[in-house]
């Protein structure tokens, strides 16, 4: 099924979640601090990382940023904090998804499956899509801005491909949640924050985007 790295400082949660995830067929490795988690991911990379935000020492936000510096492994925040502020900050740090505790193990497993499906996504419909100085190459798994490759996470890349396959067409947040995250029902803030992150990478002025634009109340579209 795949391997999961769980970074969680609460012993009881760590123990129970590890058991439950193993029941679901995952190989779970659990650590109590962000520092241990970073070491573990470097020496023995897991397919997915679950991380708590409130950790002793290095906090979850910093942990995500450090993980992101190394690779594009899917990261899910599992936190008891459900403030919009925390959710957005966690996603902005680079997480792919945010789950508020307590989460039912079945729900968690469903999210993990959706992430894995995404990792083995179907062959893209186009080989290259150009939007002015922005190029999306779904097959090569590359994004280029003025000829230079741009580092994006897997989720960001999938999001960009989805929009690139429908140039100039508005996709609603729900459509994007379905197609990119594989969620029938999900938190639209996921889409908003990922779009924001992408803008910082592909737009000259992220505050006034040229390519990835918001259509008020409806969704997003990618244009020249």
């Amino acid at each position: 099924m795949g391997s999961v790295l769980l970074i969680e400082d609460d012993d009881r949660i760590r123990l129970s979640l590890t058991m439950a995830l193993e029941d679901e067929g995952y190989t779970a490795h659990a650590v109590a601090t962000a520092e241990e988690g970073l070491v573990a991911q470097r020496s023995n990379p897991a397919d997915t990382v679950l991380v708590d935000l409130m950790l002793p020492g290095m906090d979850g936000f910093e942990c995500i940023r450090q993980l992101r510096r190394v690779d594009d492994v899917p990261i899910i925040v599992v936190s008891a904090r459900d403030d919009t502020h925390d959710i957005v900050a966690g996603l902005e740090a680079g997480a792919d998804d945010y789950i508020v505790k307590p989460v039912a193990v079945k729900e968690l497993a469903a999210r993990l499956r959706a992430l894995r499906r995404r990792a083995r996504a179907a062959a893209p419909a186009v080989t290259v899509a150009a939007f002015g100085d922005l190029e999306v190459l779904p097959e090569a798994g590359e994004v280029r801005l003025r000829g230079e490759p741009v580092a994006v996470t897997r989720t960001e890349f999938r999001l960009l491909c989805e929009l690139a396959e429908h140039p100039g067409q508005v996709l609603s947040r729900q459509q994007l949640l379905q197609r990119v995250w594989g969620y029938e029902i999900g938190d639209e803030r996921l889409v908003d924050v990922h779009v924001g992150r992408l803008r910082h990478k592909i737009e000259e002025t992220p505050g006034a985007p040229r390519h990835l634009v918001t259509v008020r109340g409806l969704g997003y579209k990618l244009q020249r």
């Binding site: 609460d10 129970s16 439950a20 008891a80 904090r81 459900d82 505790k101 008020r216 109340g217």
Partner: protein
């Protein structure tokens, strides 16, 4: 009704100005009147002496024709002359002499050989009688003062008008001055309104209006206290949230581990595990709803939202047919609402309809004037009149129409709907659907 400060100050200004200007007017009037009268009197006396000399000269002896001499005087229209001679009254006209016009007091005075003057009213008009003893008798002149009277009347009118105008000007000044004086209070009111609207960083600048520094300082102190308190409550809710959710996470994961192995347990243990599993789920819902309520007084985080899409999504998630949605013509597609909270309100209303109302039969989007309206109709027995407000209270549950193994809600769903509507400045009401069943109506400005 209490009279406003501005009105009272303006009225005081007006009364003050009126009293002052009335006094000034009265004094001026009196001064003008006495000056004019004495001036007129002097002129009349002088003219009378002159006429008296002429008459005296025209009547050297008792034989001369008195009427002739009197007629020869140039008296104009506002002077009448009379001569009292040997107990008889003579006037220029042939008619009976008007000696009655001369007051007896003056007659006695002049009979004593002294000249005198007295003001009288003749045919309703002011007049002056001047009497001078001459050799040929006593010469009187009656001078009409009606012209002077008219002048004084006009002066009185003018002064009264001025007094009234000054009073009006006083009121205007009062109004103007209070507006300026109250302007800093307008700033206080605006700041208070901002805070009420959720902008807790609003403060007043105590240096902006030195006279109101004390008020500004107290106001800021109050705002600080309020902000601190709200922050404390927020942190408390966050702490409670964390402290409750962490053990729930352990419970939830551990129960799922046990639940998987239920088949191998003896029936009693399996049943107990089933109960625990169910209750953990319920407890989780309760914690979620309580925390939502605790935070529900925060202002709505509005953004343009496609309401049709939202309704369709919520229906889909609940396994309800999407054709429940009815959109009235003229309803805008995009509403400025807090997406998350409206979604939750709708979810709770639909859950309520499923749990207690025999399932929803319609979700209607429409407009009522400037307000957006969401209506959820159900197929249940409706809600008794007396319960229509109570059901929005906390922990009030209806009789479950299709109770499935006691799968009751938290009893907080509708109160959350009410709080979310209130956070938007809107309302939620329970009513009757034409044809039976309940209708919940959410109105959002």
């Amino acid at each position: 009704m209490r009279v406003g400060l501005r009105t009272r100050v303006s009225a005081a200004f007006a009364v003050g100005a009126l009293v002052l200007s009335a006094c000034v007017s009265m004094v001026s009037y009196e001064l003008a009147r006495s000056t004019l009268f004495s001036e007129r009197e002097r002129t009349a006396v002088r003219a009378t002496y002159f006429d008296a000399a002429v008459v005296d000269a025209g009547l050297p002896d008792r034989t001369a024709d008195v009427g002739e001499v009197l007629r020869s005087l140039d008296t104009g229209v506002d002077r009448h002359v009379l001569l009292h001679r040997d107990g008889r009254w003579y006037s220029p006209n042939a008619g009976p002499a008007a000696g009655f016009a001369v007051p007896t007091g003056l007659q006695e005075l002049t009979a004593g050989g002294t000249a005198g003057a007295q003001r009288i009213r003749l045919d309703g008009q002011a007049a002056l009688v001047v009497g001078i003893p001459v050799r040929s008798g006593i010469f009187y002149e009656v001078v009409s003062l009606s012209e002077l009277d008219r002048t004084l009347q006009l002066l009185g009118l003018v002064l009264a008008a001025v007094a009234i105008m000054v009073a009006g000007a006083g009121a205007a000044v009062g109004w103007y001055v209070t507006r300026h004086a109250l302007r800093p209070l307008t700033a206080v009111a605006a700041a208070a309104r901002n805070i009420a609207d959720g902008d807790l960083d609003t403060r007043l600048d105590p240096d902006a209006e030195p006279d109101l520094a004390a008020l500004s300082v107290s106001f800021n102190h109050m705002a600080d206290q309020l902000a601190r308190r709200i922050e404390r409550d927020r942190r408390f809710a966050a702490d409670v949230s964390h402290e409750l959710r962490s053990p729930l996470q352990t419970l939830s994961a551990a129960v799922s581990v046990v639940d998987r192995r239920r088949d191998g347990m003896d029936p009693k243990a399996a049943a107990a595990v089933g109960l625990i599993s169910e209750e953990v789920g319920r407890f989780q819902d309760l914690v979620d709803d309580l925390l939502e309520l605790a935070r529900s007084d925060r202002p709505a985080d509005r953004e343009p939202t496609d309401l049709r899409g939202l309704v369709a999504r919520v229906c889909r998630a609940r396994g309800l047919p999407e054709d429940l949605l009815e959109v009235e013509p003229g309803t805008p597609e995009v509403w400025p609402v807090d997406r998350r909270r409206i979604e939750q309100a709708l979810r709770n209303l639909l859950d309520n309809a499923v749990r207690y109302g025999g399932g929803p039969v319609a979700v209607r989007l429409g407009r009522a004037g400037e307000r957006h309206v969401i209506e959820v109709d159900d197929a249940g027995p409706g809600i008794a009149e007396e319960n229509r407000t109570v059901i929005f209270d906390r922990f009030v549950r209806g009789p479950a129409a299709n109770a499935r193994g006691g799968g009751d809600g938290t009893g907080l769903g509708l109160s959350i709907v009410a709080r979310h509507a209130a956070a938007h400045g809107g309302t939620v009401t329970a009513g009757e659907r034409p044809g039976g069943g309940a209708r919940f109506r959410v109105e959002l400005p």
